[in-house]
């Protein structure tokens, strides 16, 4: 088992070669070894095969060194990134190019006339006369962004709703209606919602099966008010927002009554990030996107107004429907004669709301939540503790197309202020109406035309100052009764009386026992 000498002492020449190679492989201060350099140099010579390799050897070696230095320079200073102005400019440039390309296609299809794109230039002009400015360049950019929205979605109706400021970014809001049956996202959304609720229910059931449950709370949350269908009430329109022209339009989710009722109780400035959490008391169900949608619904219901007679109720409906049902559709009146601007300014009764009032319940059409589905009814019966629920009174709001003169005053401040845009040339002036309740809501009307816009923070004016609602009263611990209430300490007299009574009782018992014993003795005999 002895080792061979060849293995113990390597060949001296081989060792020499190894040492030499190790020396060549040693990296210099630049991080590159001579071995690497020479191999790179040789491989270059072999690949290029220059005619005078010996003469150009030094030059090639220097070039190789330089190329390495160049790389090191790059790693020291990264490539300069485009400043944000350039990035924004590129996104704005994209708006222009996409516009021209698709316009040609539309002409071919003959869709130019059918396009729901609003005339934003005219809107901007009217608003400027009224003292509300969009900014000339900004108008063009917003118009192009709206055009992109109408090109990419099957829309039937589209309007620039306004701008809501936020602390980090501002929202541009577009109000749209899809063509019937072509709103794919909404249908998907409904399915998802149903799935989500189904999953939640499953979760709850699973939880109930688990052992060792804590005592159940007797608190029963008030019934959830179902949200209105797409295309009705508060969800009549779909809203798209973007924070910057050229950015993608983001569709806001439909609003639920709970979100509207909570939004009424809170006061909050938007941040400009749709995903931002809304941390308030009472807790708001949803993120900033939901709050934005709720505020848009509230502002629309409060401030979208039109001259009297511009809209009329549809003739087909109404009479056939049941009594008490509110009419919720209207159409443009083709015979609208126009109201003189001076009349519009002088009297608020010449203006009407053309968006339905939102009831305290958070819906436009009242729904009775006391009516329960069959399953719930069965559960109720099992529980037996059925309280006599009073028949809920339906909430009624002012009907559609109610004049503004009916609007309630708040803290002695009239809710609307109207003035002429130009007192110098009244015959060509416009009527400008602005809301004192929602600062930033403007309506500009000529005799036959009108435009609504909102430019503000999305906050309702509250002259008395905001104070958050008090938390609900805590649950009472126990029903008070004799078994848990402390008794009154007995007085001395009572104690003595009790003692005497006890003594008497024991004495009587002893006597009875003695008698019994005697009787027993007698029996024994």
């Amino acid at each position: 088992m002895s080792e061979t000498p060849a293995e113990v002492v390597p060949d001296p020449r081989e060792l020499q070669i190894k040492n030499a190679k190790a020396y060549l492989l040693k990296a210099g201060p630049s991080g590159v070894s001579l071995y690497e350099h020479l191999s790179a140099l040789l491989s270059r010579i072999l690949s290029e095969r220059p005619t005078n390799a010996l003469e150009t050897l030094e030059q090639m070696s220097t070039e190789l060194h330089w190329s390495r230095l160049q790389k090191g320079f790059d790693s020291l200073r990264p490539l300069t990134e485009d400043p944000p102005t350039v990035i924004k400019a590129a996104s704005h440039r994209a708006l222009f190019s996409s516009g021209t390309g698709e316009a040609d296609e539309n002409e071919g299809d003959g869709e130019m006339t059918d396009s729901p794109l609003p005339n934003l230039y005219e809107l901007a002009h009217l608003l400027q006369q009224g003292g509300v400015s969009l900014g000339q360049e900004e108008t063009v950019r917003i118009a192009l962004a709206m055009k992109r929205l109408t090109d990419t979605h099957p829309l039937q109706y589209c309007r620039f709703w306004g701008k809501i400021f936020g602390t980090i970014a501002s929202y541009l809001v577009a109000e749209v209606q899809f063509r019937e049956g072509e709103d794919e996202e909404a249908e998907e959304g409904v399915e998802e919602e149903e799935k989500a609720t189904a999953e939640e229910e499953e979760d709850e059931e699973e939880k109930e099966e688990a052992e060792d449950l804590p005592p159940k709370s007797t608190y029963r949350p008030p019934p959830v008010v179902p949200r209105e269908e797409n295309g009705a009430g508060t969800n009549k329109y779909v809203y798209f927002v973007c924070t910057e022209v050229g950015a993608e339009w983001i569709r806001l989710p439909p609003v639920t009554p709970a979100q509207i009722t909570t939004a009424r109780k809170i006061k909050r400035i938007f941040t400009g990030n749709l995903q931002a959490p809304v941390i308030t008391y009472p807790p708001f169900p949803g993120t900033e996107a939901n709050l934005l949608r709720a505020q848009i619904a509230r502002i629309s219901a409060g401030t979208l107004v039109s001259p009297l007679g511009y809209y009329q109720f549809g003739e087909e409906e109404g009479e056939e429907e049941e009594e008490g049902a509110t009419r919720n559709t209207y159409e443009e009146n083709p015979e609208f004669e126009g109201i003189p601007v001076t009349d519009l300014v002088e009297s608020l009764s010449n203006w009407v709301h053309h968006v339905q009032h939102i009831l305290p319940q958070g819906r436009c059409v009242w729904i009775n939540t006391a009516v329960k589905s069959e399953e719930e009814m069965a559960e109720e019966e099992e529980e037996e503790e059925k309280e006599d629920e009073e028949e809920a009174e339906p909430e009624v709001g002012p009907p559609l197309l109610t004049p503004l003169s009916e609007d309630a005053e708040i803290n002695n401040t009239p809710p609307w202020t109207a003035h002429l845009s130009s007192p110098q040339i009244p015959q060509y002036a416009l009527a400008v109406l602005h809301s004192n309740l929602w600062p930033g809501a403007y309506t500009v009307a000529s005799s036959k035309k009108f435009e609504n816009i909102y430019f503000g923070w999305g906050i309702k004016c509250s002259p008395k100052g905001y104070s958050p609602p008090a938390p609900p009263p805590p649950q009472p611990e126990y029903p008070s009764g004799p078994e848990i209430s402390e008794g009154v300490d007995p007085t001395v007299e009572e104690e003595q009386a009790l003692k005497a009574a006890q003594e008497e009782a024991t004495a009587a018992a002893e006597e009875a026992e003695e008698e019994e014993e005697e009787e027993e003795e007698e029996d024994d005999d």
């Binding site: 003292g131 400015s133 000339q136 936020g166 501002s170 809170i266 803290n411 202020t417």
Partner: protein, 275 residues
């Protein structure tokens, strides 16, 4: 007369402003105001919305001094201007208590009930005193408050000369974009009442001719300013959340800057709940 500033504020500050007719009226009437009052500079300050009418406010300066001794004027029709008296501490204190919108009539009287302590020690009783405050005084106080809390100037736009006067810095070429993104580059354009104590380290970087005002950086509550780059990052917009409607604009790398207030003249006291 800074006609250019009026045009710029219209173009850059989105939202409500003044109509072209009013702008035309302002540019001529303010020039005449400047001549009549012998002012060195007149600028449009803003608009306070009232229920029945709006107040248009202009301010003017005499001589080179820009910060102190500014005079305020108001007009209801953009043509006839009236001088407002200088604000006193009493007027501001009384007017701060009034709530609700402006009416739009300078002669309107607000009735304000206040409680006053009469007597001393245990014999002190509280008496109800009714103050009558004219809307004109409220206007004076509101303008003074907004100037004190929300007027803004970029760093370096104004310079303090050895005599203590604050002059326009004619060599101001605008903030760079990276500077304009920082709150510390913007100053409250109001005489510093309570100078903040600064550490030696902070003082070392400061130029007494330029850094004689308080910056917005440490304003309370935190986040009471909204700084945004708008119109394709070409203009810096600074909005005050404490006085909703106060908007400052500055185009980076140009000396163009200014502020305009268009609002209902009420301080947003609900701000702590809103941010």
């Amino acid at each position: 007369m800074d006609a250019a500033s009026l045009y710029m504020s219209q173009e850059l500050v989105a939202g409500c402003g003044v109509s072209p007719e009013q702008r035309a009226a302002l540019s001529s009437s303010l020039r005449l105001l400047q001549r009549d009052m012998r002012l060195s500079r007149v600028f449009f300050w803003g608009k306070i919305l009232g229920v029945r009418g709006d107040y248009y406010i202009a301010q003017g300066t005499e001589g080179g001094e820009q910060l102190r001794g500014r005079r305020s004027f108001y007009s209801l029709n953009c043509l006839d201007w009236a001088l407002l008296p200088p604000p006193t501490a009493d007027v501001i204190r009384e007017a701060e208590l009034i709530k609700g919108c402006f009416i739009g009539d300078p002669a309107h009287e607000y009735q304000q009930t206040a409680w006053k302590k009469v007597g001393e020690g245990s014999a002190a009783t509280v008496e109800e005193v009714t103050n009558h405050i004219k809307e004109e005084s409220r206007l004076v106080a509101t303008i003074a408050l907004i100037d004190r809390e929300a007027a803004v100037a970029p760093r370096g736009a104004f310079i303090k000369n050895p005599l203590g006067q604050v002059n326009i810095n004619h060599s101001f070429r605008g903030l760079t974009v990276s500077e304009a993104k920082k709150m510390s580059s913007f100053f409250h354009f109001t005489p510093t009442l309570i100078p903040k104590k600064k550490s030696l380290l902070e003082k070392a970087d400061q130029d007494p001719a330029v850094d004689f005002l308080d910056s917005l950086e440490h304003d309370v509550p935190k986040g009471c300013w909204s700084l945004q780059l708008e119109q394709g990052s070409s203009v810096v917009i600074l909005r005050s959340l404490l006085w909703l409607g106060m908007t400052f604009y500055h185009v980076p790398l140009t000396p163009q800057h200014g502020y305009i207030y268009i609002g209902n003249g009420e301080r947003n006291i609900d701000l702590p709940f809103m941010i």
